[in-house]
Symmetry: C2
């Protein structure tokens, strides 16, 4: 449907067309932070009409649905514009997926207003899923930055690290962007070695998650350590430690340890390992 | 070492520094197309001095190694500049990895000379692994486009398709770029459905491969079909067919079928399935 210009021209004017509004990087959600607000054109025409760009997201309950990108907050009758991170724990899962998609596309439009090759302005086409240069006609498509994220663990303990920007006591799995020329498996081994000094055996793929901060595609792995001595570089990680299940249980109980949000693939990787010990991590973690 | 500006300033002047030269999208290889040519600064100073950009690739046998980007072909004493695709089948594997990395970085520099947000010129930093905007200071890092590639197969047959630009008889696994907001597994199911009309069960990750045409990261899967009737869209695929191992064996023998190069992940996915039948595909395929 994106490529069907005739269909698009009609769809965007339909009174039942739905809108996912963004103001800069902020999404429109209800006051409780539990649901996305996606009104129809009939109910909120200003969310369509004042938009800088409209991006077709697909059909929502049979009606065409658009991300509407605004520089400043448009008037709304309910809810408010918030950073997605602030409602990660409360927002409905399907709504989160929709808002993640809209936010990723908004970030791409914002950072591709000009052609990278010649610098001239670009314009949107294919219903907002491509931009073309007004001078050299070079085309650009929404980008995703593939990143690996890995739980290094054996039967009894796992390796977690703390980012220098995080508060004391917050720990997560190791992660980093894939570089040109390497496989995912190369990237996992390199990141673990660079950040912690640990060498690993061949990593096993677990699953993936889109992560729009700003446009990452997280590719999750588990890997067994081959070495023991941790050496952090101090830049990517402030500290890294081996945690047993008992360490994690005690740290969560006394508040000295905090983990990534339950919705994140970081939590899911840790949970997958932790739960092999017999007690579900979700019973212990509060966020 | 990329971030160590003092080390970099000395390294690039070393007489034993090695150079991987590119002219536009073409790499320098020997006359037989079997090896990359990576001379030292002492042997080929013009390959360094005439370069538009130098990108630090790492240490090669202990010496710093740089990709040198040229707009026009610099003078060389041996070999010639060729498109990597033309030597995929003949080039040494380690050399291919090195040239793939250089070509991916060259493409990124070429398409990021200007800031996508404001249009001003950018300059290279971090030894060629980042660019920053001279006006708004926005930073950009080498991009990779994650793409899924999948062999849809049950015990007895597999699904292969033909791109409209390919000659009659050339078939390969289905593939496509991951879109914002979807997991890899979502992307695999969507691409197979869009291109062939086939529905699949949960795909299983097999492995990954960097693929610099121009900057893809191929993420390989195998998936079982849930439906039988093929319906191609005619745009992404001109045709798609179910192939038994006997169909593939006969097609390769009489020349009516050609496959992707042995070095590609497409071939490796097909081989992994085919070889479960007892006869190695490599014994039948000629490229």
């Amino acid at each position: 449907l994106r490529a069907d210009a005739v269909w698009q021209a009609g769809a965007v004017t339909r009174s039942d067309a739905r809108v996912v509004a963004l103001a800069g990087t902020r999404n429109l959600v209800d006051a409780a932070g539990q649901h996305a607000l996606c009104p129809t054109r009939a109910a909120a025409p200003q969310l369509f009409d004042a938009a800088r760009e409209l991006v077709f997201l697909g059909l929502l309950d049979g009606a065409p649905c658009y991300a509407a990108l605004h520089d400043a907050e448009p008037a709304t009758t309910a809810g408010g514009f918030v950073e997605l991170r602030s409602v990660l724990a409360t927002l409905d899962g399907d709504d989160l997926s929709l808002l993640i998609m809209a936010r990723a596309l908004a970030h791409w439009h914002d950072t591709h207003r000009h052609c990278g090759a010649c610098g001239a302005p670009t314009t949107s086409f294919r219903a907002g899923h491509a931009r073309t240069c007004t001078a050299c006609s070079r085309e650009a498509f929404p980008r995703l930055d593939p990143a690996v994220i890995v739980l290094v663990a054996d039967e009894s303990r796992c390796l977690l690290g703390r980012n220098p920007q995080w508060p004391a006591g917050r720990f997560s799995t190791l992660a980093g962007f894939v570089e040109p020329g390497e496989t995912l498996e190369d990237a996992v081994a390199r990141e673990v070695r660079e950040e912690s000094g640990i060498r690993i055996a061949m990593p096993a793929y677990v699953g993936s998650q889109p992560w729009p901060f700003p446009a990452s595609l997280m590719l999750g792995f588990e890997a067994r350590p081959l070495t023991d001595a941790i050496e952090v570089d101090g830049e990517e990680l402030a500290e890294a430690r081996w945690f047993t299940r008992a360490d994690i249980t005690a740290g969560l109980a006394d508040g000295s340890l905090s983990l990534s949000p339950r919705r994140s693939i970081a939590f899911r990787l840790l949970e997958r390992w932790f739960d092999r010990g017999g007690t579900p991590l979700r019973n212990l973690s509060v966020t």
